[in-house]
Symmetry: D2
Subunit: 383 residues, 4 copies
Amino acid sequence: MNGNEFGRLFRVTTHGESHGPAMGVTVSGCPAGIALSEEDVQRELDRRKPGQSMITTSRNEPDAVEIHSGLQDGYTTGTPIGMTIQNKDSRSGKYEPFVTAPRPSHGDFTYSAKFGTRNWGGGGRSSARETVNWVAAGAIAGKILEREGIEVKAHVNQIGEIRAPKVSFEQLLEHTEENPVRCAHPETAEQMRERIEEYQAEGDSIGGSIYFETRGVPRGLGAPRFDSVPARLGRALMAVPAATGFEFGLGRSARERTGSERNEDWTTNDDGDPVPVGNDHGGIQGGITTGQPIYGEVTLHAPTSIPKSQTTVDWETGEQKEIQVIGRHDPVLPPRGVPVVEAMVNLTLVDFLLLSGRLNPDRLDDQPGEYDTAYHPRSPENK
Amino acid sequence: MNGNEFGRLFRVTTHGESHGPAMGVTVSGCPAGIALSEEDVQRELDRRKPGQSMITTSRNEPDAVEIHSGLQDGYTTGTPIGMTIQNKDSRSGKYEPFVTAPRPSHGDFTYSAKFGTRNWGGGGRSSARETVNWVAAGAIAGKILEREGIEVKAHVNQIGEIRAPKVSFEQLLEHTEENPVRCAHPETAEQMRERIEEYQAEGDSIGGSIYFETRGVPRGLGAPRFDSVPARLGRALMAVPAATGFEFGLGRSARERTGSERNEDWTTNDDGDPVPVGNDHGGIQGGITTGQPIYGEVTLHAPTSIPKSQTTVDWETGEQKEIQVIGRHDPVLPPRGVPVVEAMVNLTLVDFLLLSGRLNPDRLDDQPGEYDTAYHPRSPENK
Amino acid sequence: MNGNEFGRLFRVTTHGESHGPAMGVTVSGCPAGIALSEEDVQRELDRRKPGQSMITTSRNEPDAVEIHSGLQDGYTTGTPIGMTIQNKDSRSGKYEPFVTAPRPSHGDFTYSAKFGTRNWGGGGRSSARETVNWVAAGAIAGKILEREGIEVKAHVNQIGEIRAPKVSFEQLLEHTEENPVRCAHPETAEQMRERIEEYQAEGDSIGGSIYFETRGVPRGLGAPRFDSVPARLGRALMAVPAATGFEFGLGRSARERTGSERNEDWTTNDDGDPVPVGNDHGGIQGGITTGQPIYGEVTLHAPTSIPKSQTTVDWETGEQKEIQVIGRHDPVLPPRGVPVVEAMVNLTLVDFLLLSGRLNPDRLDDQPGEYDTAYHPRSPENK
Amino acid sequence: MNGNEFGRLFRVTTHGESHGPAMGVTVSGCPAGIALSEEDVQRELDRRKPGQSMITTSRNEPDAVEIHSGLQDGYTTGTPIGMTIQNKDSRSGKYEPFVTAPRPSHGDFTYSAKFGTRNWGGGGRSSARETVNWVAAGAIAGKILEREGIEVKAHVNQIGEIRAPKVSFEQLLEHTEENPVRCAHPETAEQMRERIEEYQAEGDSIGGSIYFETRGVPRGLGAPRFDSVPARLGRALMAVPAATGFEFGLGRSARERTGSERNEDWTTNDDGDPVPVGNDHGGIQGGITTGQPIYGEVTLHAPTSIPKSQTTVDWETGEQKEIQVIGRHDPVLPPRGVPVVEAMVNLTLVDFLLLSGRLNPDRLDDQPGEYDTAYHPRSPENK
């Protein structure tokens, strides 16, 4: 059974294993008329790619995207956009000890139990390398959101017990990309970095979390109940490898608030529209957006690939053995997870925009039935 | 846009508004050969129904289910099962003040902003009354799980700041239904009940959470990545009205654990199979079940309908006004939410069983192509 | 496995067996703001219902629809519309001889082979009674098409070897409902009626076909290739019970035409738009609508329930036996199939309108984000 | 809106334009354990590829497939299979005259009307080049069918007015691939070839049809009503470019048969099972397979690209002009359509096998939960 598809109108279909020939993603249902280039996608892939700093894996992947279809003269055509990212630096050999001796807390055993087999090089399909496809698709969604005046930004708000203070959306935009931890609070980022290096030195890894926030999401998105915004975000963000928790608004702490504390009176904004006086509701009421910022958190457990000695069982021989997962692994997931979370929020929002009629599924100019040449000038280079 | 469908092979399609003529649910894709009666469904509906105790709404609904199709002589036939639950005690009139003056933190405004209109009696489609459909469908899923030796049980583990100690699965089974709070720890349940009544007396409400756990789920379920078990549970449980957070395994606290703390060595069980030495992984590795119990928590915010005075704005007149949402409302959601959470976990698991080939989508006896009479004796009462 | 769902955004989910308690259909994804009453649906059900004339079954079903949800003050609210049609005149007893002795060319054997069981009264789920759900849903789709200026009309163009001459769309509208055969060419209708009565008198039945045509379908609908208009109509119309062929445009005869004969030059219409000089293309080029009328034909084989003596085998005893399917059966399907074909075309077109951005999935007024009271006046009768 | 996805469990997602960089297809939901190589796919692509004979286009495409994922040591792993076919011989320049002057009866105008733009080189997305993806996916489905003992074979049974006599399944297997027309009746094939060359010499093209037949399809497949076998085949085969009609069993001629002629008595086979005495029902009763061969026909209209002079309108200038579609075009579609039709039938059948529980969606060996190494020997070449 497959699980490689996401979205209802703006759809993503992925393939690829960590050490296979290539990763690939098809974006189906992207409307025509969006300016798009390989550079737009590459920019996001570069944020996710390995080897960015001392606290990420040293696997050397250019993660260069090729777009195979769906464009004409720099604009989307409404037809499916196929993208491929070649795997260049896979070294499967070192995974051979684990073919029948599952690494602790990885997907080795469960994949083999499900399928009777697995692509075992580098974790194969269970590897977080899959998220390169998500970021590529999310970059296209991001182009649409940009055009609609919608912003999505995430940062790392906790590593181990080090938690960043609340930061403003402006701080998110300004500081997140300044440091290798991707924490928008520079002092905390520095503490996090130091702490990560300590774990790394010990041959260990550590958990953490990612906070995300939006601006400009219009009211009226979401389709209760099974396709409410929380339900869809819940699926999108709990699909992120290593996610163990998702919250929005007050999240887990809502359990300790009374109704009178959490409820928000209505007032009017400058347009004379009703608006809630606060945003403890996290931008969503009754499963539908209110127009206030959506915000939430995703918890990611510590990376399971650690050099420390651990014990496994070989299912062919039945023997226990000590192993070390030595390789090129991240000591912490959130820094590279930031673009992944942004991508999944992007994809979710664009799908809702299409489903709620804010965007025309066929074309952004919203003039159905008009044949024109707006996006396909007879450019010399296209002949 | 609709959001009333759940599941990929075991599918649920719902309709109904709180104060409309009837609620209804169609279960599509249920295999043939399951013994099923209206009583099986009614039993679960009775656990969710209003008016069970002093700490639930006094709305008087029998919630009597009628099964319209999909049965022959007490067994499912593999064809869709239609069910209807009439609404008997709706009193829409008292909601008239809120037609254009949204209740704080309800879905009144967002539904109207989305659709331009709404069924406003009793919250209409945004009401948690919708979950009667989920529980009805979940009861059928529960019959299948029972047959497969799979158990799903939930209880209320927190109300406000009162948190139950960890209880065993046996305690869950034994104590949950003994008290109106549905907390499996009797002493805590009593404290919770008292505290709820205090909030109730103050015209207020309070948040809380529900813990769930499984037994007997086989290894190998789940389809990474977008349809991993966490992703599917994330959607299922974040769809629950008032849910603001979902966690499984170590959940939110995983952010503070190192890899070496959280990783679990492999040992062998009595069958000689590899098993992890612990269950911090919550029954899921690489998005796929390990065969260990799945457990998690859902946070539900405080009910938004409270008698305390609050402020709203009438969007027709533009005027602010004080309102009280006086009616028949729950002061806390988790006690009646327990069967809802169980239903959603049931539905998710049965769908995975079908998708993973553990169950035959057509028939439970797994003998495709054999015509027989096993489930349709020529009973006199059927003629 | 279920097969009771149709449509991608405008979705139909059905349940019910011929002799079960009730038929039911949920229409999900219908936008808000459509004037709709039970009478609108009833009018179409009455066209399909049994007992209309001597050449239809005499089963006495009022086919009275109840709408359970999705309306406020006579307008749709954007939430799912649940409908139930009670079965009143089922007499299962006479089907008992066929429980293990399948009727020739019915679904008795195949349903039992698939599911190991079946609801055997009156054909159960395999009965064309299911189409009552389709017509109910199609009536709602028809209301939307009417508002968009789109017309869909079908008539019976062949019964046995009697074929109606080509009729104009105006003739379709004017004459189809005038005679019990639903053939828009009155003289042919009369010949057909006589011929049908002859077959009926012989205890036999006869095949035929239904022609359909549209007006006002805009250009640009359809999503090649798997969701092209022909592909979607192909599924919709081959799902009709007894359908053995579907054609559009030149249909089967296109195999004998050269490219130069079939190709149509482009000219301009009054608006200066390019239009093809003919309509051999049947309103569809490259899988997408051109704005010209769509037209096609569906072949329905003869009803399989006939009083003539036939031979079957009892799978319990292994013995052959002679049977007569005596009951209340149609001698020919197309007359009652006309509203069914129209319903399926309606449903297909509305789904395409939504998918192509012509209609807003949330609301017809196309002002997303505006909360208003347009469709929910505080009417006294609603309180 | 996209239309590039097919299947419910065995899923196909495609992308690519005729003259874009590459075509691509992702097969999702293929069970683990199927022996598969690029050669298996290439063999089928070679049957469809251009330049095979004088009566096909001379476009020179190697159509070499690369498999990017989903394999381990020559067996499928249950994870998505990504495939890419590079476009090597695209010459877009000659299509420039048609950017705003639609070719008669092509998709030029409708694509531009739908999307406001289009990839215009070689027909872009509307080109039948898309079917290279279908054949690649269908080859994988074919491997599964082969393993299950199911055969699907098609041939060209009509070109213009030349119709082949009925041939046996053995003849289909033996003769279809012997001649460039792919007609299993050699004498007729020769006549067809001559006639095609005449049309070709006249700068014209001609329509035709493809007949298909199956062996070994088990009884019990299909999910009435919307997912009945005829409904699914109807969608699959009407999606084929240029299809204007689909029939199965008696097809269109069923309209002239009486019930007593078409109905088939039941007898018993060697196993003592009930079987119909004939196969006018085309292997399907009540929408579900009977176990008899499924057979049917697809009509394909004449290719629309012809050198003969035709008239179009330029929508920028509003002027009519004479055009000739000179290029590398097929004079007739059925010969290269044979593998396309087979592919679509293959895909439909495999999906039904999965949906009906005949095949385990996760793995063919049907031992859920068993981790093994059957399909992933530690081969040296894989390290």
